[in-house]
Structures are given as C-alpha cells and as structure tokens.
Symmetry: C2
Subunit: 408 residues, 2 copies
C-alpha cells in the first residue's frame, strides 16, 4: 500500500507542477466548501476518534478498586500449582532406559504490549510461576504506570531474594527498542509474545527473528444448526456476542441454517434489545430487521456491539465459511444433533470448538488454568489459552540401569 501511495504522489507532483495558480486556487476554495458540506460526515468520524481516545482513557485509568483487582489477580497466580519440574510422562522402552519428560522453563520471554497496565503485573506473575525471566515493553501510553508497577515488582522480587532482572521493563518510549527485541537481543530472547492490535501482531510476526506466540484477532462464529433448541440458541448467541463485546472470544458472526431461520426473529430481538447492531445477508433480512452485510463484515473483528449474520444451507457450508473467514480462535455450534455436533468438533480447525456453549468461554480462567496472558492463535507450541503451563518447555531425563547395562 505505501509503495502505491508513493508512486501516485510522484505522478501527482507532475500534474501539480503543470497546473496553473487559478486551478490550484479553485481546488483550495472547493475544499473549504466541501468541508462545510460534509460537516455531518466529519463530525461523525471525529466522534469515532474521540470515542476511541475515550476508550483509551478507560483502558489506562486505574483507581483503588482496579489496582486492588490487579493485586488480587497476582495473588491468584501465587496459589496456582507450579508447573516447573512436573513429570508429563514416564516410560521404560525395551532398551531398559527409564525416560521421564519433565517441564522446564522456556528461559527469557519478551512481551510487547499496548495500553492495559494490568498486563504487566499478570505477565510478571505468570512468568515467575513458570520460572521464566521476562522483558516487558509497554505501549507509550501506559509506560509511566507500568514503570510504577515495575517498582512494585522489583521490590517484591527483592523481598523474595530474587534479582530485579527477573522482570525488566524497557524504560523508554523509543521505538527502536522494539526492533532490537524483535532481533532477539543477541540471542537473549527465547520467545516473543505480542499483546495488542492487529498491526502490532503483524509487525512482530513479520520482523521477529525469534519464535513468536501470537495472539491474533478472534473472528469467532456461533453456528445455529437446524436441530438447535430455539431458547438455547437465543441465550447462547446473546451471551456469545454481548456479555463482553471487547474480548477476543466474543462472537462476531452468527451462522444460521436456512431451515432454522424461524429462530432468527427472537434472537435478533434479544440482541437489539441489548443494544446490538445487526448486519445480515438477504435471507436473514427477510425475517428480521437489520442492515445489509458487506463482504468485509465476514472478516471483521468488531470488538463492538455489532453482529454479522449469514444464512447457510447446512453444516458443510457453515464449516466452509468458518474455514474461509475465521481466524482459528473459537467457534461454537448450537444443536441437539449429536452427529452434527461431533462432526463440527472434529472438523473445524480452530483452537477451541464448542457445542452448546458460548464462545466467551474461551478464557484461561474458565478452562481452569487459573490465569492466562492471552489466547494463542498460532499452531505451534501452544494453542488457545496461554497460562503458566503453556509457558514451559520440557526435557527428557533418562536414567540408565544402576549397573550401566543399557548398551546400544
């Protein structure tokens, strides 16, 4: 895209070099007029920007209660079982060896995150629980808060007799620090975890020279099958979309069987009542009032009270839609049909696939992991909720016979 912008600007410069002053004056005046004419459009867009900045203020703002919630979350990680040294498997092959696969820390984890200060405390606690050293790079917006939380972390480490370097916070807003981390700091970093928007994750994936555990977007689907119970379908869709619209496990697209369209009016009414905007295909719009969905809606993670709705001919078409537009995060089927449910659970290739439950269950806490630093959408090392256990690797401890009689 940037290359195209550059090429077009270069060509436009040629046009402008030849344009006379009157033409350029006319353009300037026309622009002023157009700004007035489009006041609604500009003010509408501005409201969006202000709303976004307001959400930033909300994400950043701590008070006594939120601070206590951060501390409680750390307390909860303190009582989680420690994964380090846990025996994952143990067996004795025919050669007489005794082989144990034992969890060990990964080593040094670097996390690059954006504006939620609580991420720093959670990540530090989870890293300590899994025995990993941590390097935290905070977004510029939250840096001072994160550094203050960092002082608490350092003091806590010192009380326990651990060096402050167990959890280091990059103390600068200088963007070149990110580049150095992505290059691996001369082999010091074993794993990078980006936590933030799509562009941050994309940059990290494109530039990192060390392994990355990505938390990409969650374009999650709930599929209402013909054999769904109508009330269950309504309740699950409402929860999956509206319980919290800003979490990655929130449903963004409702897929509904053509033969189940009779359930849609009640679902749509419940969603509208909860303040949700609906965007549907033609068949959906024929049975419930909503705006038309565009092609872009199927691949948009709204993280907002908006739901796209698509009618499908049945299970196969639903799974094809998910394979094409989904992000491999979390998908649910609502059905009373065991055969359809088991096919969906077996064939949909997402980190989490659910039957008759809300996609918002995609959460380390709900999974019983105690804590998570995100939902991994990559395919290697860890998928789904990433808790302390997912931040370990393993080694094989092999014990020979006392007489050393294991020979090759």
């Amino acid at each position: 895209m940037m290359q195209a912008i550059g090429r077009q600007a270069r060509a436009a410069a040629e046009v402008l070099r030849r344009a006379d002053a009157a033409t350029r004056t006319a353009a300037i005046s026309a622009i002023a007029r157009q700004i007035r004419t489009r006041a609604d459009r500009v003010l509408g867009a501005n409201a969006g920007d202000v709303a976004q900045a307001t959400r930033l203020v909300d994400r950043l703002s701590l008070d006594q209660a939120r601070l206590e919630a951060i501390a409680v979350s750390v307390d909860q990680i303190a009582v989680l079982p420690d994964p380090v040294g846990a025996e994952m498997a143990r067996w004795q092959p025919a050669n007489g060896l005794d082989i144990a696969r034992v969890r060990t820390p990964i080593g040094v984890i670097a996390m690059i995150f954006e504006s939620r200060p609580n991420v720093a405390a959670d990540a530090a606690a989870i890293a300590l629980r899994s025995g990993n050293a941590l390097i935290l790079r905070s977004g510029a917006d939250a840096l001072d808060t994160v550094l203050a939380i960092g002082e608490a972390i350092s003091a806590g480490l010192a009380e326990a007799g651990l060096p402050a370097s167990c959890v280091q916070i990059v103390p600068t807003r200088d963007r070149s620090a990110v580049g150095a981390m992505l290059a691996g700091l001369d082999g010091a970093i074993d794993l990078i975890i980006p936590r933030g928007g799509k562009s941050l994750v994309a940059r990290v994936e494109a530039e990192a020279r060390v392994p990355v555990l990505s938390h990409l977007e969650g374009i999650c689907h709930t599929y209402v099958h013909t054999a769904a119970d109508p009330d269950m379908a309504r309740d699950i869709v409402l929860n999956a979309k509206m319980r919290r619209v800003s979490v990655c496990g929130a449903t963004e697209t409702l897929l509904i069987d053509k033969a189940a369209l009779a359930m849609l009016p009640a679902i749509a009414a419940a969603l509208r009542e909860a303040g949700c905007e609906l965007r549907g295909d033609e068949a959906a719009r024929a049975v419930a009032q909503m705006a038309p969905a565009s092609e872009a809606d199927w691949s948009t993670e709204y993280l907002a009270p908006i739901l796209s709705i698509r009618t499908v001919a049945g299970l196969d078409e639903a799974m094809r839609h998910i394979a094409r537009y989904g992000s491999g995060h979390t998908e649910a089927i609502v059905t009373g049909d065991d055969g359809a449910a088991e096919r969906f659970l077996a064939e949909v290739d997402s980190a989490i696939v659910l039957r008759n439950a809300s996609t918002q269950f995609a959460d380390g806490g709900e999974f019983g992991f105690g804590a998570e630093i995100g939902i991994a959408t990559g395919r290697l090392h860890a998928r789904g909720p990433v808790g302390p256990e997912q931040l370990t690797t393993f080694k094989y401890q092999v014990r020979g016979q006392p007489a050393g009689s294991c020979r090759l």
Copy 2:
C-alpha cells in the same frame, strides 16, 4: 566477514594499482615456488576435500539393500499408532463444561534437507502418519533420486485415493525456491524443518517468516564423575563417541573430574584402539597421551573419530562448561552418586539428559517413538526426538451441558 573481505579487497586494489610490473611478477613467481614448497599441506587439504566428496558419494549411493531399508523404515511408520484425534487430556471445570484437548495435524510442513535421499521417504511417511501435507526441498546433489522416490510416493498416495499434492517435491535446483519457502508461500506453510549442516539451519533460522523446528548441531558431553564405576565409564564413553561418529548424539567432549583422572588412561586406551583421535587439556595430557586441545575444540561438532577431553574440578564446573559450550542437545553423567546424578538431570538445560547411559541413546527409535525426523534443539513446541506425535498440534473440544445450561 564478507563485509571485511570486501573492504580489504578495495584497499588492496589501491595498493596493486600503484605496484609496478616487476613487483607483481615477483609475487607470481613466489607463489609458484610456495605451491611446490607446501605440497604436503596442499595435498593434505585435498585429501580432506576428496574424503568429504567420498562421504557425499556414500551418503547419496543407494543399492538394493539400502532401498529395501528405506522401504522397511516406511513400513515401520505404517504400523505406528496414529496420533491424530488422540485425547491428550480431558477435564470438567467448575463451570460445568467438558473440555478435551485433542491432537490435530499442524497443517502444511515444509522440509529443506541436504543429501540423504532416505529423508524424503521417512519424512513423507511421518507427515502422513501425523496428517500433515508436506513440501520437500531436496539438496541439489540428491534431487533426481528424490524425484524418483517422489514418483513412488505419488503412486502410493494414488493407490490409497489421496491426492499427489499431499507430498510435493520441489522439482528444481533453482536456489530462489528456498527463499520463497522461507517467506511461507503466501501463508501456505505452517512449519519449516531444516535438516542439514549448520549453514543451512542458520540461514533458515535467520530468514524464515514462519515457525521453524530446528535441528542444530549436537555438541554432546559425557561427564565422568568422581563416583563413576571405572569400567562403566570406559564402556559408556567408548559407545557414546565411537558407536557411530556421524550421528548428532555422538559425544564430542569428555568432561572428567580431576579426582577421577585415574580412570582416564583406560578410557583413552580403549578409544585409541577404536581409532579415535584425542585432544586434551593439560591435566588430561599428564595422564594419557594425546594432542593438546584448543579453545575451538570445546565448541566443535566433529562428527568424526575425534574426542576433546577437559578436566573439571567437579559437578558445578562440568555443568558450567556444558552451559557455555553445549548446544542443548544431549549430555550424560556417569556416576554412582544419586545426589550428583539428580542435580545433573535437574540442572543441565538440554533436551536430553542421561545418567549412566550413552548419549547415542538420543534417538526417536530408542525413545520408543517408532520413527523420527531429527532431534529438535529449539525450545518451543518440541524438544528432542521429533516423531509423528511431535508433528501434531491440538485443539480444545468443549461440550456444554445437554440443556445448554453453561452460562457465563
């Protein structure tokens, strides 16, 4: 390095531009004389190159027996348990969900390998066992053989009703194909596995835009502790070094306690008798005849009948040496002391740590994995032998209550 060579050549060009013809003639004649003077040195180096080319001929050469061995290896993979769909864990958190973690294929695996044609057949069989599609890039030396094996693979796939594209062989020696694979072929590749020399693996790690499962060098250590049984120490060291010198699990450095040096003469004699060249530090050379080791020896993977020997003050110094010079592959301790052994197994941070057993046990077959495509030396996803199970990922299948009563 290349930059330095360029800078120096540029500076030398300036010198040569100013040198007169007589000076340059003198240089030319002197070079001819020097070639004759150093005949031994040049012929010695040439013998090394020829030996290497001869080893290449050996690695490449198939006969009826070796072909049968390749087929037998594939047969063995055919009877391995299939990992896809296996339930790794299943639990019911307090929220009433039923959560199962189930193995699934990774997707598309690309393997870039060098000159052993059997790798193609093994990799294809292991990929099919784990449900993954495979893209194979053979080294130029072996390409025609690999393409012929590829015809067998395609025919086998067709017999089973599977498309030939399940296992594709890049049909060109063009080096740009590797660059395209490292870029991920527009998102088509989920994982790249390099199999070959250090420079291949380094290039893949530096340039890949997709996850890499590396099989780096094995600088493996055997540590003879004070409390070792002398006969066991001799037998294990001999096996660890000499059973097969060209495998990545072969021991390259023997660490021996100062207090155990009395065992060294017998170990050295056994190794020499088996044709092994020894290179030791001063203390080792004081008790057994061997060449002096240089600093470079401690970080060299010989893959040849050469062993470096270093004397250490005890367990801690041995572990420090391994941490500094080892490649995180496989290390063994020989000792009758349970405390020392358990500390070694717990604290040495390598994929495989053994007590009283040969480092050559670092092998998927010996581990009971049935087959392997290598020993992973990275820290993410898989460590140690990589068999079909290690080429899977997983997903969570979540079943709600029949009444859909799991609510958040």
